[in-house]
Symmetry: C2
Subunit: 347 residues, 2 copies
Amino acid sequence: MSESKFLKTVAGQRFATPPIWLMRQAGRYLPEYRAVRATTSSFLEFCYTPDKAVEVTLQPIRRYGFDAAIIFSDILVVPDALGQRTWFEQGEGPKLEALTDPADFGKLSRGRLPEKLAPVYEAIRLTRAALPKETALLGFAGAPFTLACYMIEGGSSKDFAKVKTWAYSHPESFGLLIDLLVDAVVDHLSAQVDAGVDAVQLFDSWAGVLPEEQLFSWSLQPMVRIAHALKARHPKIPVIAFPRAVGPAALMYRRPDAFDVLSIDTSLGAHWASRELQPQICLQGNLDPIMLVAGGPALEREATRILDKLGHGSFVFNLGHGVVPQTPPDNVARLVEIVRNWKPSAA
Amino acid sequence: MSESKFLKTVAGQRFATPPIWLMRQAGRYLPEYRAVRATTSSFLEFCYTPDKAVEVTLQPIRRYGFDAAIIFSDILVVPDALGQRTWFEQGEGPKLEALTDPADFGKLSRGRLPEKLAPVYEAIRLTRAALPKETALLGFAGAPFTLACYMIEGGSSKDFAKVKTWAYSHPESFGLLIDLLVDAVVDHLSAQVDAGVDAVQLFDSWAGVLPEEQLFSWSLQPMVRIAHALKARHPKIPVIAFPRAVGPAALMYRRPDAFDVLSIDTSLGAHWASRELQPQICLQGNLDPIMLVAGGPALEREATRILDKLGHGSFVFNLGHGVVPQTPPDNVARLVEIVRNWKPSAA
């Protein structure tokens, strides 16, 4: 643990260049990933097969030597393990048998998690054993609001009208679902820590669809409760919060009592973030994943711009969102080179 | 003109309660809209039929007495008029024959605009004549980057990889397209002013997908150029800028030399906006459209919260995005009541 540049950075130590890992670094842009993925038709079954999850988690580490690996899994294993029917359709993304009424909550049970998610924890144990000591291993979970979005919309959505109407008009029953998800996520993250992850990231991918007061109630507060409960069980575990697309409301997430790192998406300008957020919390981000598709001088210029703005403070280099499938793998190698060869200017 | 509460507010005058209009106030949530819409199968043909465009523009004014009407049209009439094949498929949104190469720009010609868009200008003339004097009439256009998104992606997109890769890797040729669109939008807005609109709004709906440096080049700068060119022809015309989902980069759009009003989406907290933006520019926004679906106490509470934060300054009440089709029309009536009955607290 003390050998990890990523963990030392999160703990406040400074290096000549920041550590780097990428959201969705294990994925379809890698031919070796597609080869393993092709051996299982169901995506969830793929996630629940430890040797395959281990292999695809390790692939980008072998190729690029990132400072952190993130266990290959999906945020929707939680609703699936709670008992909600969840599946992935080719080219259409996730589908869930939507919750339409508080009575549906009765079908969900946290008791099923340890058994159903055992393959995830097994994959973590095997990955930790196979990883170099200096590579941190991250666990993760979807934040309660984002999970509730999928669970109530029955998949992704254009306007999130169902989940938001429920949250706005029936906050009591929506709060019961959020409470259940807070507990389930704490259980899931805690079991990941027990299995060997060195830090965890909470993805609130859809937080940005909420206005500020609702954001406080349904995104920030549940994430803080999760971080507190997790740290009560595992006092030193670093927690990364990623409330995507929340704009200036990112200011609310500067909560050192709960979060060790704040992951920022591409729409939060590096300049603004360096001034308003970084003095109070370690940042992670925020290169546009499409810069990795473009490559060439555009990638070099933009990665350097972000390093010049954020690399002088507490910072983990990452993207603002996940690697996209059409990314040329060579551009990822080039990015790692740019970050590792960056020379801080005398700013 | 001097009788319009909307225009007076934009010019700096203050009233007991702010003026109100709603983006997409003419639309599918209204049964009288659906009745007129059902008489034409093609959406663009519907936009190009003056008596129908006039009728649906006036419907929400009759029903709710909004302080402003916005001419019923679509931002994609510009690529259509430039000569790019554009059509709407039922339930799938807009489709365009995508531009794939700078050579495709040769097919686009501004010369076609006056004739092709004559029905829009005719609809404006007829609407202005039919509207009460106190109701402002707004014209609008898509901002160049948002139009380029549709023109290069061939419709909407999940990741905007094509348009962004083009902009990042080939800024010179992308800049030529943006220049052409700046000129076309100036022509289109100028003709709308000649036909009788009292103010115009520039929709940069996809601005939020750009990182800050690219945002400056491809969203802010073209919008400023449009505003300057338009004001050179029509010195007093108010310009509303709506760069959607740009987060704290909204700070860049405080440009009183170019914009009279900055329209803010739901993710820009009213509290932050009142402190950081409103001292320098009149704001418009920012109620979550889904609050209009929820209705009831949630709508009342949230509308009042926004009024309490922004109603003491220069402000036009609106949504953060367009009215959604499943909105109960009675909730819109209730919102107008809430705004018009708001009592400023002694803040």
